[in-house]
């Protein structure tokens, strides 16, 4: 090692794109098998359907980068979707509904952050606990019934379009750009890499990992609130159990995207591609009307295959 090694540029974007190959493969295969797959309406469909999962997967990427996990996202999403319904129903305004949902989401995020960073409770356990709480509150708030009769302004969020592009897609793109900017262009984003990679480096740099970690979980909660509005808009109702289990889809999308579970090795674009891969897989299988049991097994297979490639990549 007499001479220092020549400069090797390993900017995250040029990471070996396992998920990109899987995605293109799925698109090619489905396009061949189901002609209607590549129609503009279907592509718009896939993008619109993937937005909800994207809003959950983006913050989940940050949480996983800090070697943490947020299992409460699905339940908080369910609770906030009911809150959007109830508040917009009583006040007649979508904005107030959104505000209430994001506030409640952020409160749950802060609670998760405090449990994980303040009380050192393992993230899996802390968020499993808050999952139960949010799920219970959702049932109690809705008394087990769907909340209907929501003002048109709420459903507009899902149905309207901006310059002929469906609003959810615009929301999804804006959210991605916001998180991309946050992660790669702000101090806070830089410190998220450190939270996963080397937490002492932050203390030596005079920063407080606890505050940063609580902020990461708070963002995750707020996004669950935001996604609550989208889900209520889509269903034109708040439903007591509609969003349960979506956190596992988000974790799968992040894993398929190539973000590894240790040392702060996050890749936001990978997550977005992972979300699309899950969306395309489900959409393709629907179009082909394959038996539902095959659809169920294929999602599991996609997750295992992606992790297998991630293992290959990181081990080599």
């Amino acid at each position: 090692m007499a001479e220092t090694a020549p400069a090797i540029s390993a900017h995250p974007l040029r990471r070996p794109p396992g998920v990109a190959i899987v995605l293109t493969l799925l698109v090619v295969v489905f396009a061949a098998a189901a002609p209607s797959f590549i129609s503009s309406t279907n592509i718009a469909n896939v993008l619109v359907q993937s937005t909800l999962l994207l809003l959950l997967s983006l913050p989940m990427t940050l949480v996983i980068m800090t070697e943490g996990l947020d299992l409460s996202m699905g339940a908080v999403l369910t609770l906030t979707s009911i809150i959007v319904a109830i508040v917009s129903l009583s006040t007649g305004s979508m904005a107030l509904g959104l505000l209430a949902a994001v506030t409640v989401g952020t409160v749950f995020g802060l609670a998760n952050g405090y449990l994980v960073a303040g009380l050192n409770i393992p993230p899996f356990v802390a968020t499993l606990g808050t999952l139960g709480m949010a799920q219970g509150l959702a049932l109690i708030a809705s008394d087990g019934q769907s909340v209907v009769g929501i003002p048109r302004s709420v459903t507009e969020v899902y149905l309207a379009s901006l310059f002929s592009v469906p609003l959810p897609i615009v929301i999804g793109v804006v959210a991605y750009l916001a998180f991309h900017g946050l992660l790669y262009h702000t101090r806070f984003g830089t410190y998220i890499f450190a939270l996963g990679g080397n937490r002492e480096a932050l203390t030596y740099a005079g920063l407080s990992p606890t505050k940063l970690l609580i902020a990461v979980y708070a963002i995750s909660g707020a996004m669950a609130g935001f996604a609550g509005l989208l889900m209520t808009a889509r269903m034109n109702a708040g439903h007591p159990t509609a969003g349960l289990g979506l956190e596992f889809d988000a974790i799968a999308a992040v894993a398929v995207g190539g973000t590894s579970f240790e040392r702060g090795n996050g890749w936001l674009l990978g997550t977005a591609l992972g979300v699309l891969a899950v969306g395309v897989l489900r959409n393709g299988l629907n179009l082909l009307a394959l038996p539902s049991s095959i659809q169920v097994a294929s999602v599991g297979a996609l997750v295992i295959l992606a992790l297998f490639f991630d293992g290959l990549r990181s081990r080599s």
Partner: protein
């Protein structure tokens, strides 16, 4: 905040008030008193050498200085006024920057982001980073210390030496008035060390006070303006390099004359070959390793940090897969993993005890029988009483200081923990012991006991392969030694040729 270094303070060797003075600093951890009434001062434009054996308290003093640890007692005086250093932020405000040995780098950030972690230049929008300025400043700091590398490279992709250079760049870029370095040349080649020395001389000229921690006497005379020697957490003296000799320093470091350090009776005739390695190469960076270890022998394996000694140990033990070559143990070739090696009678006492040698949360007894479970209980049924007897015997035999075998290992001191790791392999009836830096971070008293133990083992017919970066230890204890350089064996030194100079000559990089 340009990274160019301002030259204003005129260096004056004997300006009355020191830049920073530490008085009566104490710090203790469960089981050991790391710092005991240490007083220490630094003057601007001066390199103050901090010398001491492993475990003397050097790193603890440094961590107190930079706010990573809070001192239990003692005062800090900066420019004559009393101050407190309770956190890294306090240290930063006082202009203290640190180059750590276990790096404070974030693997998946790039070099520029690591250098300016926490001090990123602000972008137009509040909270964002001005990336162009970030990379421009980073290039300037890297050029300033003569380290030619693209600042956009992710740190995880760098070698040990390159990461050390990034640590140095990070400290220098803080325009610190006090720069603390913890064994900075451990992982560096000659060329990089020379770059560092030139940088230190220039910083000295700029009035920066430098605290240089090392246990290498050669470096002390090349750079030191003032030398403090630490032993067992106490400052045993401050000397002027001009008026001292290496022997005097060593005696201060070791606390007794050099010659009586480690009793060793060398076997007259060497026993039969236990281990023979032929042309061993692995993907972890070592190639064509040939070595032999015979019964009754302690064979040394030396060389600089990063020269591949640990990799050889792990390859022999089966922890890393060999890509070429043969490992013959007791006459037949082995190719399996650690489980096969343990059954055959190999033992590995790993470099970092806490993370690789012990299950810290479990008891001393559980750890002692861990490697011997199959030997002691072939039926698969574990008898706690018998296990207890075996571990009690070992505790007595090795004189491990612990209230009982039930005590959690985490509570033992470094020396006792190392004895537990060795005891673990004694219980397994190992015949070839591979020691990887067995005495690192252990105080001098326990070090002698451990070498006495190794000597006893070898006298009893076992064989030992000793990896150590303490050339003195290798020379005193080993029958012969191999010296490694850049993943290959540079040469073998017989007992007669085994001197520190020869090791250094073979081990150092050329050109």
């Amino acid at each position: 905040m340009s990274a160019a270094l301002r030259i204003d303070a005129t260096p004056s060797r004997d300006s009355p008030t020191p830049l920073l003075e530490l008085r009566g600093i104490c710090k203790s951890f469960p089981g050991v008193k790391a710092l005991n009434e240490v007083s220490f001062a630094v003057w601007p434009g001066e390199v103050h050498m901090l010398l001491g054996e492993n475990g003397a308290g050097k790193s603890s003093l440094m961590k107190v200085l930079c706010g990573a640890y809070n001192a239990d007692a003692g005062e800090f005086i900066h420019h004559g006024t009393k101050v407190a250093i309770a956190s890294s932020a306090d240290a930063k405000r006082l202009g203290i920057a640190v180059i750590f040995q276990e790096f404070s780098l974030v693997p998946y950030l790039d070099i520029a982001q690591n250098i300016f972690l926490g001090r990123e230049p602000n972008g137009r929008i509040p909270g964002t980073i001005d990336r162009r300025k970030l990379y421009r400043d980073a290039r300037r700091v890297l050029d300033d210390i003569g380290f030619d590398i693209d600042p956009t490279v992710t740190v995880a992709k760098l070698g040990v030496a390159q990461q050390q250079m990034v640590e140095i760049a990070k400290a220098v870029s803080q325009n610190a008035r006090i720069l603390v370095m913890d064994e900075p040349t451990a992982a560096l080649s000659d060329r990089e060390s020379e770059l560092l020395f030139r940088l230190i001389r220039r910083l000295k000229a700029d009035g920066v006070a430098i605290v240089y921690i090392s246990h290498r006497i050669a470096e002390v005379f090349a750079l030191g303006d003032r030398i403090s020697v630490l032993r067992d957490g106490r400052r045993v003296g401050e000397v002027d390099p001009a008026r001292t000799t290496p022997d005097q320093l060593v005696r201060m470091m070791v606390g007794r004359s050099v010659d009586i350090s480690y009793p060793r009776n060398f076997a007259a005739t060497s026993g039969k070959t236990v281990l023979e390695v032929v042309g061993l190469s692995t993907s972890t960076g070592i190639a064509d390793i040939d070595l032999v270890v015979r019964e009754g022998e302690i064979v040394g394996l030396c060389g600089l940090v990063g020269s591949g000694r640990t990799e050889v140990a792990r390859a022999i033990f089966g922890a890393d897969l060999a890509s070429a070559g043969k490992i013959i143990f007791d006459g037949h070739e082995k190719s399996g993993g650690p489980d096969e090696a343990t059954r055959l009678g190999l033992a590995l006492i790993p470099e970092n005890r806490k993370s690789e040698g012990l299950a810290l949360m479990r008891s001393v007894g559980d750890n002692l029988v861990l490697a011997a479970l199959h030997k002691l209980f072939p039926s698969g049924l574990f008898e706690p009483r018998r296990a207890r007897r075996v571990s009690d015997d070992l505790i007595a035999k090795l004189r491990i200081v612990t209230p009982s075998a039930r005590q959690t290992v985490a509570f033992l001191s470094g020396g006792n923990q190392q004895k537990v790791v060795i005891g673990k392999w004694l219980a397994a009836g190992a015949r070839l012991f591979i020691f990887d830096e067995p005495t690192r971070g252990i105080d001098v008293g326990a070090k002698a006991e451990i070498f006495a133990l190794i000597d006893q083992l070898v006298a009893g017919g076992a064989a030992a392969l000793l990896i150590s970066s303490e050339q003195a230890e290798i020379c005193h204890v080993c029958d012969r030694a191999y010296v490694m350089r850049e993943g290959r064996i540079a040469g073998e030194l017989a007992r007669a040729e085994l001197t520190e100079e020869n090791i250094v000559r073979l081990g150092m990089h050329h050109g």
